[in-house]
């Protein structure tokens, strides 16, 4: 049994893993960069050690230092979360070699599936349908042109080491291929330190649907249904749900069994996700395998009733899966919104900074996996995800209604967020009818935003009341936490320059 786990991550996922450790009576060791000293994962862990300056290369990507901290703190396992070192096979191997359990697949399986090109080769061996195209990196624009010619335009160039849409280019005309190839290569190099790029046929209006698998270290593997992740902005998932509104039990079984085949053929263990594109005719094409816990794992937890991080730890302890495929039943519907620090009104520019005000939703059917608090300064050095808001209800319709209710309760002040974007999507007819594909959101955003309504007198009166209480509301101060003082007391409490200025101003008008 594991006694102490080091969590090589930050933010909401580090906290989520710490909670799982505590629930299993396992000590949790946090690591942090200088930007995260005040992070919740440091606050809630049993031990915490500094890694270095804010940039990821100086902190959360320092595998050797993290391994060293694990050794010195007596941790017997490392959970990588997602991102950072989670799909770094060399790190996984270094853990294995130093006798520290890496909570994830063996390095060999990560290598076999780690790059998209390798994974496509494994898919072919496992007899898994995939998009037409090459299964090796392309050496030159010319080679790319040949493959494109063979599969036919439009095509998609992709970074073999890629993820999150970086190093991706859709090309519909031969004359654009060469420049797109170079651009994809350099972006891939910058983002992943590898410029390997391959090419596949572009599927028109596909859905992004993925299968969650769990494999123990004794050759048992199950699938826990699918997640519908078609609502994406520039290939970044924005909303995920489970189950998918378009996946029939039969399609679920066929995709699930194919996913299990792939995992077993690669000698996979622990939690993993096989991503598919599904076209209008319900054909599915293997896209890639993510050899780690996914950001969106909570929607699967809510509809299956299982705790994926608990199971990851139990599998890492060498335990067999505590259930079989026939025990897995889906119930209800779950939707997740990824709350980002970005400004939808300003081209989705990142919006790091201090969270001056935070009102969080709660109550029935609402789960929030959250890495922020009022007063937290969102660093500029990491991805902009603040929180995952998840709604569960008996039906998709009620899950949408519940999420809208929760969004109405949610206020984040001081920085800009995409909370408003979710309201727009969840109220959109196409989304309600589940007429979605990976291009759906970019198209919705191309439409003019619904004109903001007349606000009426309420905000004016509210603004006046805030102004009236102004001396009592300097940033973050508590004095106005009562009724707005009124009458004599108020005029008394107003600062001199203010009243003077106002008197003057008023005096200046007839």
């Amino acid at each position: 049994m594991l006694q102490k786990i080091l969590i090589a991550n930050r933010g909401e996922i580090a906290l989520r893993i710490i909670r799982a450790c505590h629930e299993l009576n396992i000590a949790a060791v946090a690591v942090y960069s200088d930007a995260d000293r005040a992070g919740l994962h440091v606050l809630e862990a049993d031990e915490a050690y500094r890694l270095g300056p804010a940039p990821a290369v100086d902190s959360y990507l320092r595998g050797n230092l993290i391994l060293d901290i694990a050794r010195r703190s007596g941790a017997d396992a490392i959970h990588p979360g997602y991102g950072f070192l989670s799909e770094n096979a060399d790190f996984a191997q270094a853990c294995e070699e130093s006798g520290i359990k890496f909570i994830g697949p063996p390095a060999s399986a990560m290598r076999a599936l780690g790059t998209k090109t390798n994974a496509r080769q494994v898919a072919d061996e496992a007899g898994m349908p995939r998009t037409p195209g090459c299964v090796h990196g392309l050496a030159s624009p010319e080679e790319a042109a040949d493959v494109a010619q063979a599969v036919g335009y439009p095509v998609m160039l992709k970074a073999a080491a890629g993820g999150g849409g970086k190093g991706m280019r859709a090309v519909s005309r031969p004359e654009d291929l060469a420049s797109a190839f170079v651009a994809a290569q350099s972006e891939a190099e910058r983002a992943f330190g590898s410029d390997e790029v391959y090419l596949e046929k572009l599927i028109e209006r596909p859905r992004h649907i993925e299968i969650q698998v769990l494999a123990d270290e004794h050759g048992h593997c199950v699938y826990l249904g699918e997640r519908e992740c078609s609502v994406q902005r520039r290939h970044q998932k924005v909303i995920e749900e489970a189950p998918s509104p378009v996946v029939s039990p039969d399609l679920r079984r066929r995709m699930g069994e194919a996913a299990v085949r792939l995992a077993l053929s690669a000698g996979y263990a622990n939690a993993g996700t096989i991503e598919f594109l599904v076209d209008d005719d319900q054909n599915f094409y293997f896209l890639e395998m993510n050899t780690r816990l996914q950001v969106e794992h909570p929607v699967t937890e809510l509809v299956t009733g299982y705790d994926l991080v608990h199971l990851q730890i139990q599998i890492a302890q060498g335990e067999p899966l505590p259930f079989t495929q026939s025990d897995v039943h889906l119930r209800g519907h779950a939707i997740e919104c990824r709350v980002y620090a970005e400004d939808p009104d300003n081209n989705f520019m990142p919006s790091p900074g201090r969270i001056a005000r935070l009102l969080q939703p709660g109550g029935p059917g609402i789960r929030e996996d959250c890495g922020i608090y009022e007063g937290w300064v969102v660093p500029m050095d990491y991805d902009p995800m603040l929180s995952k808001l998840i709604a569960f209800a008996p039906t998709r319709e009620l899950a949408i209604a519940r999420m809208l209710r929760a969004l109405d309760e949610y206020v984040i002040g001081g920085i800009r967020t995409n909370l408003g974007l979710f309201r727009r999507i969840l109220r959109d007819d196409d989304f309600s009818a589940a007429r979605i594909h990976t291009g759906y959101l970019d198209r919705l955003l191309a439409e003019p935003a619904p004109a903001s309504t007349e606000h009426g007198p309420t905000p004016v009166i509210a603004a006046a009341l805030f102004e009236a209480a102004r001396p009592a509301v300097p940033p973050g101060n508590g004095n106005c936490a009562g009724t707005a003082n009124n009458g004599s007391s108020k005029s008394g409490s107003r600062s001199g320059w203010k009243s003077a200025a106002r008197t003057a101003a008023l005096g200046g008008r007839p």
């Binding site: 620090a341 970005e342 400004d343 300003n346 081209n347 520019m349 990142p350 919006s351 790091p352 900074g353 001056a356 005000r357 009102l359 500029m380 050095d381 990491y382 902009p384 969004l407 109405d408 002040g413 001081g414 909370l419 408003g420 309201r423 903001s452 606000h455 007198p457 309420t458 905000p459 004016v460 009166i461 509210a462 603004a463 006046a464 009341l465 805030f466 102004e467 009236a468 209480a469 102004r470 509301v473 300097p474 940033p475 973050g476 508590g478 004095n479 106005c480 936490a481 009562g482 009724t483 707005a484 003082n485 009124n486 009458g487 108020k490 005029s491 320059w497 203010k498 200025a501 106002r502």
Partner: protein
């Protein structure tokens, strides 16, 4: 207490008069009387009852850049106090040589031009990065780099002036 509140470009005259009980106000809004029951739940969070309607209004951050959250809307306002006059003046004063401002808080990863260099319209000036997103800021017009206020590695705030093109 008399105030002028500007929202969405419209200016409203508001006169707040305490109506005896704590939190109760008689409000004259553009001459129309309204009864208001206002209670600060905690700093920046206002429970406002207007003729029975219940509103939760949340101050976005502080009153330096005043904005409030009402239902799903973030609404900025300006009040008749010296600071907001200044702000207006500052806005008004955005003439002469054109400034290049940071579109987001972040770190300068590259400076693509040198001080004094001639630049074409839409020519890249600096590359700024935040939250794994890079953003190249381009010259708003053809001209010359009169000032270059940042160098690679600098951390900048949103709206900060990075360069001046004349």
């Amino acid at each position: 207490m008399k105030l002028e509140i500007e929202i969405d470009g419209k200016t409203h005259r508001v006169d707040l008069n305490p109506a005896g009980e704590p939190g109760r106000w008689t409000v004259q809004l553009d001459g129309q009387p309204v009864e208001a029951d206002a209670h600060f739940i905690r700093p920046g969070v206002l429970s406002l009852l207007l003729e029975g309607r219940a509103h939760r209004i949340v101050l976005d951050a502080d009153l330096a850049e005043p904005a409030l959250h009402l239902d799903e809307h973030r609404i900025a306002w300006q009040a008749d106090d010296p600071r907001s006059f200044q702000r207006r003046r500052r806005h008004a004063a955005a003439h002469g040589p054109v400034t290049l401002k940071a579109s987001m808080p972040g770190r300068i990863v590259r400076v693509l031009v040198e001080r004094g260099a001639p630049v074409a319209a839409h020519q890249g000036i600096v590359v700024i990065e935040a939250m794994k997103m890079q953003n190249e800021l381009k010259s708003p017009k053809e001209g010359r780099v009169a000032e270059l206020r940042v160098m690679a590695g600098d951390t900048v705030a949103s709206g900060q002036i990075l360069a001046v093109i004349e």
